[in-house]
Amino acid sequence: MITQHDIVIVGAGLAGLRAAVECVDQADVAVVSKVFPTRSHSGAAQGGITASLGNEEEDHWEWHLFDTVKGSDYLGDQDAVEIMVRDAPRVIYELEHMGVPFSRTPEGKIAQRNFGGHTRDYGKKPVKRACYAADRTGRVVLDTLYDQCLRHQVKFYSENYVLSLVFDGKRCAGVVTYDLATGELHLLQAKAVLLATGGCGRIYKTTSNGFASTGDGIHLAYQSGIPLEDMEFIQFHPTGLYPLGILVSEAARGEGGFLRNRLGERFMERYAPMVKDLAARDVVSRAILTEIREGKGISGRGYVHLDLTHLGEEKIQERLWEIASFVRIYLGIDPVYDPIPVQPTCHYVMGGIPTDVDGRVLMDEKGTIAQGLFAAGECACVSVHGANRLGCNSLLDLLVFGRRSGLAMKQAISKVEHGTLTKDSLRATEEKIKKFFNVRGKEKIGEIRQRIQLLMMEKGSVFRNEEGLKKGIEEIRSLMEHYKNIGAVDKRKAFNFELMEAMELGHQLSLSEVILFSALHRRESRGAHYREDFPVRADRYFLKHTLVFQTPKGPDIRYKPVKITRFQPEARVY
């Protein structure tokens, strides 16, 4: 079946929904999501959204700009970062007007809290910049945007999984979806397609990401000849609940919590004398793992303590209700009285599909635009986060660039007519599905996935080196061979999750290769990418963005320059 829409948005997290709200007044918009929209992973964001409102204390967008650039270890494109931080206050007021229930100051303004890496006066001391709704900020923004979409009658294809992008010549002209409820394939034809499919944290065993975060959109683009930018930069959030990896928001430290090792030491004082526990995430994660490596983990094991016991019950209940409930449910302890066991957990991918500042996908290092194709949110790389994202800058990224993509798509579709797609566009995907159903699989999806996840933890997480990366790539390639022998056990059509997982696994394998390959070639340490064999930043050689292209011979690497406008790279000390 072929259905036409002006705009098809893949992914119903904050970027996708914000884009939908932006263009629904002038276009026929459809949002495709593999889960119900309100199940999207943006809903798991806890701590807040940054904007230099200055509601609690003096703040300026120039400070926010500097912090973001420094946080990115000077790899963020400064022109794009400037657009984002200057737009931030408008974004927050707009959300507030839509109905987002932000927490409030005694004067009735939007409340703001401290967050890692956000400082006053270019790094002097922490500043309250994160606007929040307790520790459920992502969830309430997601709910509000979903409600706005209902109000404006955006068409949703919930529980539809995108299997491929469809091209009419060089122009992206739609997507093929697999309807989970019926097992039918649909061709959704569009004048513009936005990928807003989120991250790929599920490549790693320990992750804060939901099961759906398998990097589908990133890999669909890669398969279609789009390079992937800066994929070596994978963020490990310092405080994942041990051992599950569930996110414990940086808000816990923003509200005054701190980390302690086995000896009870507040060890961050040694790693970041100025801002201590509120340093950037890459710095804190490495500090925690260094303590653990030195035998200073709690009971000599793989975690440290996040101590909130001095905050008092009232503050914890009021501002950190969700994380307190996670600790109570999953560990059976109470953060009001007990320190929380935490370990770094895979949280966010800074890299992704290269775009310009209006979400247009870029096909090469020269900036050639891929017609009809847009990307926004975690799956995209603008790049505003460079080598390391600061907390609360992600929701801002989703909203700023989700909206800008929406505006750009509205403009783009006014000059385009639907091409003539036939059912042939479905055929390749149909063949792929048929093959999966006909192969008598010897290999199990679950086993291959588990091996990827362990391998990526070992070879491609916080600490990396050449030997490990090379070995990791070899192992991934061998798993790719095993992957060819998976087949369907479940032959039924309705809610055949096995089929979706098989497709996800293909994405995960290929993205693992890209991550390790990008990491192998970056022979320096920058932001979240730390090479034990090249422990310092090497601006002379690597102040540039990685681009990995898929070729028949395997991944091919090229580079493009970083845009530097106001701040020249300096030593990064917190």
Binding site: M98, G99, A494
Partner: protein
């Protein structure tokens, strides 16, 4: 420890009636029931269908009936159960396959209460002011994750004669907007809710409050809506 999961199985396309299948699984007492279901799906029987996403009680995907009580599989730990756990789909909704139910009607009812802030005056340049006290009134309501456990547990929704009742989940969201000091459509909201199948459908049976995975005082909030309706008459 060894745990047995007795799981509801049904494929309406091919089978006339549901069956129950028991899976045995070696689990850590701290494992979530969701981990057990996943391991069954990954290691023993890929045909078992259920929804899940975040795995920690934020997205609301894995609502199901566990030993007769609706809850999230990701919020229940193995250690709280003895030997066998009975796992069934949420009641009230039509089963599509195994533990997957048709939530279409749930979201339609949700949509029917106009779940969005409605204002008539134009917004200021900055934020609309709201005091912490005004915010606190609906603070608990914004914890709702639309998992549908409350609506599935409500005896009014379970009764075929009264199944048109909009249900507790939609009313929690209605409460959230009705009691938001920024909303300027309270008259319309009250009129919308003042119906047999609106807030009037609630018989104050407390089941919703008992099962809410986010500890929202659902029944009390519906009670406050009823009072607001009463005051407006």
């Amino acid at each position: 420890m060894l745990i047995k999961l007795k799981v509801f199985r049904f494929d309406p396309e091919k089978e006339e009636k549901p069956t129950y299948q028991t899976f045995e699984i070696e689990a850590d007492p701290m494992d979530r029931l969701l981990d057990c279901l996943n391991r069954i799906h990954w290691e023993q029987d890929p045909t078992l269908s259920f929804r899940m996403s975040c795995g920690h009680g934020v997205c609301g995907s894995d609502g199901m009936r566990i030993n007769g009580i609706c809850g999230l599989a990701c919020q229940k730990l193995v250690k709280s159960f003895k030997e066998e756990v009975l796992i069934e789909p949420l009641p009230v909704f039509k089963v599509v396959k195994d533990l997957v139910v048709d939530l279409g009607p749930f979201f339609e009812k949700y949509n029917s209460i106009k779940p969005y802030l409605t204002t008539k005056t134009s917004p200021p340049d900055q934020e609309r002011k709201q005091s912490p006290e005004e915010h606190k009134i609906f603070e608990e309501a914004i914890r709702c994750i639309l998992c549908a456990c409350c609506t599935a547990s409500c005896p009014v929704n379970q009764n075929k004669e009264t199944e048109g009742y909009v249900g507790p989940a939609a009313l929690v969201r209605a409460f959230r907007y009705l009691f938001d000091s920024r909303d300027e459509a309270s008259e319309e909201r009250v009129a919308l809710l003042d119906q047999k199948d609106g807030a009037g459908g609630c018989q104050t049976l407390w089941k919703c409050t008992e099962v809410c995975p986010k500890e929202i005082p659902v029944t009390k909030q519906i009670g406050r809506i009823k009072k607001r309706i009463y005051d407006a008459r």
